[in-house]
């Protein structure tokens, strides 16, 4: 009998994803869709609010990476108050960097230890009752404890730089509202054990070594799962280095040729457009020069390691060289190598945090700069999940007249759909029975991109999923909820 599978969530929070798989009477895949069933309304919510409120307001977009929105909005509002990136005081820029790299550390640690390690330790076919962080805690306690403390260290860095856990106020238009005290600095550098920067670097290296060891034993699965060529997009520093906070916009194709050659990101509208498809509230961004069909791209850890030329910290650079050598210097198109790339970034974030903590500029007292005001601001940042765009226009009364946000998960919309299609085609299609383990592979494919649907849909909260199987007549034959 023909069928359709839908994956959809059950939650009180609206932002959620849904996977619908259509099969014909012989069980052959007809169509797969990863879609979002939430109306996006956040841009309108900020309209009419004073521009200086934006860095705090936009954190309401997401309880998962509020720091990314906080900093992207602050960067945009820097331009509104006439503080271009070169005129920002060093203390302000470095405090923001510390906040951001703290976020990268906690977010990447959470993703690996909480969401990915259960799949690796217990296998993608394992019972979900075991394949979770409590299962990891039971069987691999050291790994789970390190995950908790890496995350906590990153959270403490955010608290020290943003000032608050909820709706942090650290970054303001034109700068920052506090520096880092010597006591705060010393607490991160010297303890209390094991919560110090050196331990975090060692543990990040340990997590990376764990993944590489797993990869050696499971190359066919890790390399082959949801592998497909794509373009890649990210910010890079002007000299081509990996940079999460600031830089120019670079895109490369599947062979590594530049499509966007280090452009000023304030020109993004000349190069990037968003396609609306009737079946999803999440838009599909693409590079205008290549068109809708060929212009889609990946963002996030895998894309960043494919676009940058080097990593400006010693241990992560060594790992980057190994990562790039694996594909002979060509862009890496293996979805599960996102985990490898994410852990290289985790190590880099830990190294940069230590480097920043040793910089006396963090104790500087010049915190803001104001120049000639402007009516428009565009701020881009590399959020944990990829490139995040914030664009605002401000009227003569200092009120926000227009806001446009392209979040990381939206940028990865087409790649996630491709990954789901790969699983539907290669794992589910023409199988007599669809098992829980097979369905989990749909999740594994999406999880590689660490999506935040509450953020992408401009709602708030958790991100569950529902999978439905539907026949050619539209009848739902099976439905699994997570």
């Amino acid at each position: 009998m023909a069928k359709k599978i839908t994956i959809e969530p059950v939650t009180r929070v609206e932002g959620h994803g849904k996977v619908t798989l259509h099969f014909d009477d012989r069980g052959k895949l007809i169509q797969s869709r990863f879609h979002v069933v939430e109306f996006r309304g956040f841009e309108r919510f900020v309209q009419g609010r004073p521009y200086w409120e934006a860095p705090v307001l936009v954190q309401r977009l997401c309880g998962i990476c509020p720091v990314s929105h906080h900093l992207a909005a602050a960067k945009a509002m820097d331009l509104v108050v006439g503080a271009d990136p070169d005129s920002l005081p060093p203390t302000a820029e470095k405090m923001r960097r510390l906040m951001h790299y703290g976020q990268m550390l906690q977010s990447h640690a959470l993703h690996f230890f909480h969401l990915v390690s259960p799949d690796l330790l217990f296998g993608v076919d394992a019972d979900p009752a075991v394949r979770n962080i409590v299962g990891v805690a039971l069987k691999h306690k050291d790994l789970a404890v390190r995950g908790v403390l890496l995350r906590k260290f990153g959270q403490e860095v955010i608290l020290a730089t943003a000032g608050k856990k909820i709706h942090g106020t650290g970054a303001v238009p034109g700068g920052i509202n506090k520096n880092l005290s010597p006591q705060e600095r010393d607490s991160f550098l010297k303890g209390p054990a094991p919560l110090n920067a050196d331990t975090m670097i060692d543990w990040a290296q340990g997590a990376l070594d764990f993944f590489k060891s797993y990869h050696k034993k499971n190359k066919a699965f890790i390399d082959g799962f949801a592998e497909f060529p794509s373009n890649h997009l990210s910010l890079v520093r002007k000299d081509g280095a990996l940079d999460f906070y600031h830089g120019v916009l670079r895109a490369v194709d599947a062979n590594g040729h530049k499509i966007l050659d280090d452009i000023d990101y304030r020109d993004y509208l000349r190069h990037i457009a968003e396609e609306v498809r009737t079946w999803s509230y999440m838009k599909f961004p693409y590079l205008k020069s290549l068109g809708k069909d060929k212009g889609w791209y990946r963002v996030g850890p895998l894309a960043r390691l494919n676009t940058c030329d080097f990593i400006p910290s010693p241990r992560a650079q060594k790992e980057f060289e190994e990562f790039r050598a694996y594909t002979s210097g060509k862009p890496n198109s293996m979805s599960l190598h996102s985990h490898w790339a994410r852990l290289v970034e985790l190590l880099h974030a830990a190294e940069v945090i230590k480097e920043l903590l040793l910089d006396p500029d963090l104790q500087g007292t010049v915190l803001t700069y104001r120049g000639r005001k402007s009516g428009e601001g565009i701020g881009l940042i590399e959020a944990p999940r990829g490139t995040l765009f914030h664009h605002y226009r401000v009227d003569a009364n200092d009120l926000i007249a227009m806001a446009n946000l392209i979040v990381s998960t939206t940028n990865n919309n087409e790649p996630m759909n491709r990954a789901v299609h790969w699983v539907a085609q290669n794992v589910l299609s023409e199988k007599p029975q669809i098992t829980e383990g097979m369905l989990n592979q749909v999740e594994v494919a999406i999880r590689a991109y660490d999506p935040c649907l509450s953020c992408a849909t401009h709602a708030l909260g958790a991100m569950p999923l529902e999978v439905s199987i539907v026949d050619p007549r539209g009848l739902v034959l099976d439905c699994r909820r997570r």
Binding site: R12, A144, R151, K165
Partner: protein, 164 residues
């Protein structure tokens, strides 16, 4: 100074109206300056909260809820591992399960669910949620008064965010 023995953790997002009941509750609780009580709030619970709760004898999670009778429900909860797909947050009973497995500590824990009504984008609580918060705050203040808590414990099945 009395020893701090109870942690009250508020969960929710104040930018989503009544979803912010947990953090608003914590703001009011802090203003009461009750002895022996530590208070904290965040958007959602995560793995590091297992470490936080492991350091206390008693924990109260405060969250907004839709499917309960107004003004609030308070139930004792026990450790239980439960997960949603690719979620970036944990349920209170899963935090307890992690605390038990990682730190060998299982505090007595309660979920204080306060009825909310408006979960749209926006600031401030709805009028009805505000009244429910006040009622819940009065109840908790009485509940954690020394010598009274043990008499008010009520067993209940583990609650999850999705059945609230």
């Amino acid at each position: 100074m009395p020893k701090t023995i109870i942690l009250v953790l508020g969960i929710g997002n104040p930018g989503r109206r009544d979803d912010g009941l947990g953090p608003h509750f914590i703001d009011r609780l802090r203003a009461l300056n009750l002895p022996g009580v530590a208070a904290d709030a965040n958007y959602q619970l995560q793995v590091e909260d297992a470490l936080s709760v492991s350091r206390f004898k008693r924990v109260v999670f405060v969250d907004a809820a839709r499917a309960i009778e107004a003004p609030f429900e308070m139930t004792e909860i026990e450790p239980l591992a439960e997960f949603a797909f690719t979620t970036h947050s944990l349920a209170p009973h899963t935090v307890l399960a992690l605390s038990r497995e990682l730190y060998r500590k299982t505090p007595t824990a309660f979920l204080l669910a306060i009825r909310g009504y408006d979960f749209g984008l926006g600031e401030g609580l709805s009028g009805r949620a505000e009244r429910n918060l006040e009622a819940a705050l009065g109840h908790l203040a009485e509940f954690i008064r020394p010598g009274t808590a043990a008499t008010r414990r009520k067993r209940a099945r583990p609650r999850t965010r999705k059945n609230l």
